[in-house]
């Protein structure tokens, strides 16, 4: 009780101190709530000061109208804009064609309308605040200001270098679309639009991150998604108060349900077809500018074992593969623990001949089985981590040296027993069958190994029960995590550990939404009319 109070108190004080420091040191530029002034020069000078006259901040002053009577100024950031649009669609018509258009006598009113009729650009918006203007050109738009006019025009001229649409490296498929999201959010929304040509597909934009001002978009299908879940997503995103959002991982952590759980409660994917399918099930997706990973919620545990490809190959094979993934996850989590439990506590469960050969393998090995297992698992993690960081040419050598030579020599030197090396190898390989859970598996594996080393099979049972308790109480946006297993929905089991034929999966997941449950009509596969009845 006392500790609890002390904890709360210390965090509260720390927070307060940081806030005070922050407000003293740098007043946030984006919090300026001033309006644009009527004078062009004032505006331009303000903006130059705020941008510290950065090298890529371009200010272009020119005159419009007959006799070049009206002064205007254009600000944009070089590198974020499509210079062709600026030159051809903004500057050229304004500078040249404006001479042919009669300008209103009263310069304050109507100048924007005239501008808008001259500009041959698609998206034009009026803005009146300085922070809106800053937001505009920092995002690649051009801001047009006219002397004597308190409003400015935000013209869409975005265009920058970006990675082209390529096959995502983390989710390769054999038989499905190979497009992947890129770092530009507009490209991503376009990819989704092309999959969901439906007016119900809604996009809501937010800006998050004090310093990075990253654009986040919430995507959902209006009449399919549960409005409560959408509202929850909005609320949680609005609550994010941080400096930077660089990657989807940040969003996942902030809007995920159980920050202390090793299990992921938000799903991410790099492929538009996966996200589109999930939107059609009634889920909500969050797109982040600057990262090709799109987060979608809510998430079920069984989704960790699904891949997009399951739906493109034959259902029987897909079902077998699903079951295989569950089994592999089980092996990667339980194998070392079971081995240790069997050899140190429950030798009566091993067939006699196997026991004799295992006993001979362990003669002369100095360490207890549990310690061996921990050391070997650690060694595997080291090799794996090193393998990721190594440059490609060196990687091959390390894998050969590390895995084969070290393993072989260790066995021959009598430091570890051969069966254990095999167990660890199988564990390692099956770890990667379910990539979403590979980090989870590592943690759970160690926990189970420690429990098995102290209490044998009973320890494993306790560990599994703990995991089960944790999983069954986890909810992702109000939906139980273990659906459709734990609140048993037999209708949804068709897509869990098996993949039923597409024509059988006629309803959307029960746990997600209730509005439009019917996915498709049941139609049995078409019979060949020429075959005999």
């Amino acid at each position: 009780m006392l500790k609890n109070m002390l904890n709360k108190l210390s965090l509260y004080l720390m927070n307060k101190q940081l806030n005070a420091e922050q407000n003293k040191n740098n007043p946030d530029a984006s919090k300026i709530n001033e309006a644009l002034s009527k004078s062009l020069q004032t505006n331009l000078n303000n903006l130059k000061t705020i941008m510290s006259s950065s090298n890529d901040f371009i200010v272009r002053e020119f005159s419009l109208g007959l006799n070049q009577g009206i002064h205007a100024g254009l600000v944009y950031v070089d590198g974020l804009t499509n210079s062709q649009t600026i030159n051809e669609s903004i500057i050229e018509p304004l500078m040249y064609k404006s001479q042919m258009v009669p300008l209103p006598k009263d310069k304050n009113i109507g100048i924007e309308q005239v501008m808008q009729s001259l500009l041959s650009v698609g998206e034009v918006k009026e803005i009146a605040q300085i922070d809106e203007a800053i937001d505009a050109f920092l995002n690649g738009d051009t801001v047009l200001m006219v002397d004597g006019c308190p409003k400015a025009l935000q013209i869409s001229t975005r265009g920058w270098e970006k990675r082209g649409i390529t096959e995502p490296s983390t989710e390769t498929v054999v038989k499905g679309p190979r497009e992947g999201f890129t770092e530009s959010i507009r490209v991503n929304t376009s990819l989704l639009r092309r999959k969901l040509k439906n007016p119900d597909f809604t996009l809501e934009a937010l800006t998050i991150g004090r310093k990075t001002r990253t654009v986040i978009m919430i995507a959902y299908m209006k009449n399919l998604a549960d409005e409560n879940i959408v509202q929850m997503v909005r609320d949680r995103l609005k609550k994010i108060d941080t400096d930077s959002i660089f990657a989807a991982g940040y969003i996942q952590e902030y809007i995920g349900d159980a920050p202390f759980s090793p299990f992921p409660t938000t799903h991410y994917s790099e492929k538009p077809d996966v996200i589109a399918a999930r939107l059609l099930e009634g889920r909500v997706a969050v797109l982040t500018d600057g990262t090709p990973f799109v987060v979608s919620v809510p998430m079920f545990f069984m989704e960790c074992f699904q891949t997009g490809e399951d739906y493109y190959v034959s259902y029987f094979f897909a079902s077998v593969m699903r079951v295989l993934r569950y089994v592999s996850f089980g092996i990667s989590v339980l194998a070392p623990a079971i081995y240790v439990a069997l050899t140190t506590f429950h030798q009566e469960l091993v067939p006699t001949k196997l026991l004799i050969s295992m006993a001979s393998a362990r003669e002369g090995v100095p360490f207890p089985a549990a310690l061996e297992a921990i050391v070997l698992l650690l060694a595997f993690e080291i090799i794996r981590e090193a393998g990721i960081r190594l440059p490609r040419p060196v990687g091959q050598a390390i894998s050969i040296v590390g895995a084969l030579v070290m393993g072989q020599s260790a066995v021959q030197a009598g430091l570890v027993g051969a069966p254990l090396v095999i167990v660890v190898a199988i564990t390692a390989v099956s770890n990667f069958v379910v990539p979403t859970l590979s980090d989870v598996a590592t943690q759970v594996r160690f926990l189970l190994l420690l429990l098995a080393a102290s209490m044998g099979g009973y320890g494993i049972v306790i560990g599994l029960l703990l995991m089960l308790v944790h999983l069954s109480s986890l909810t992702s946006y109000g939906v139980p995590y273990l659906s459709p297993y734990a609140p048993l929905h037999p209708r949804d089991l068709k897509d869990s550990f098996i993949r039923a034929p597409l024509w059988m999966m006629i309803s959307r997941p029960t746990a997600l939404a209730g509005k439009d449950r019917k996915r498709r009509n049941i139609t049995a596969p078409v019979k060949d009319p020429t075959s005999k009845p």
Binding site: N4, N7, F260, Q347, E348, T352, I356, G364, Q412, M455
Partner: protein, 393 residues
Amino acid sequence: MNTHAVRHFGIRIAAILLSLLLLCGCWNRRELDTMSIVLGCGIDKGEKPGEINLICQIEKPSPAGGEGGAGAPAAKFLNVVNKGTDVFTILRDCNSQLGRKLYFPHNQVLIFGEDFAKEGIRKQLDFFLRDPETRMTVMVFVAMGKASEAMNQPTVMEGAPVIDIVNMLQSQENTSEAPQIEVLDLLTALISPTTSAVAPLVSIEKDGDKTKSVVAGTGIFKGDKLVSALNGVETRGFLWVKGKVKSGIINFPFMDGDVSLEIIKAKSKVKPILLPDGTPMVKVEVTETSNLGAQNSMIDMSSVEMMNMLENRSAEVIKSEILYTLQKTKVLGTDIYGFGDLFHQHYHKEWKAMEDKWKDLYRDLKVEVTVKTQLNATGKVTRPAYPPVQKQG
């Protein structure tokens, strides 16, 4: 979720779990190289009265290493012999002798020496029944002679002699000359007030100047004392009634030669009947199927008439085997078939009166044996390898 509360709770849980790990010391932990795996046990009568010799056959693994892919190293065995008054104290001595604790769950065989079995096995059997480590599927044998010798014979195939013995017992299915008795069966027979326990026999035969162990025949107990034995053929008579004959060869002279029939399968149905005057009667019905295995005569046996004659003849042979064994047990007064229990199950009200008199009732028990045989096939050839001869007579 309140992150402070969660963290607090999480810390508490972690502390408890960690302390659990630290203080446990893993009581039940046994490393493989601290145990000696017992493969078989034998009990012999000791020199002093009231003493027994306990022989434990332990598998002795050779350390691995060296060539990695040479296959499983050949396991040697070790017989540890100790004397004492009862099994449990002897086991402690064994442990101190070896420096490793004996490990029983993989014990496969329990052999009683002949002298020891004649004096009663109940007292020493108790350890094997009670201890949670031992299992009830252990095979029981009685050795003709000393159990220690039976466990020490040079092996034919496998590493340890006891495994050899088990394998031999299992291959007995081919000849049906020894019953397969587990401790469970022994226990069931011992707690029954009327049934006599049986166990297969292991004997040592000389083969030139080498000796080898042979599994054949049955030992019969009265109560828990060994009283008699049945040879191979008599055992088969016993197994016919129990319905445990799986395979075998029936040999008999027929016409001008000998015929061997190979038993394919056999079933038996035993029904206890209480006659109106209160005498018990047992009806045994044996159904057997066989193939023509070999014949030593010139006659073509493949005609239906011949097959029928063969069937009848083989039925007579089987019946005589059964009756012979039955008579022998009647004389001994040992109900090895469990007929008494059958009456207990089907006529339990009348059984209370019959139970004490069962020994006498068994001696005069009317047993009606019917055997039905069927000859299925004659193999690859129909006629023997003789030029065709006219059927005589």
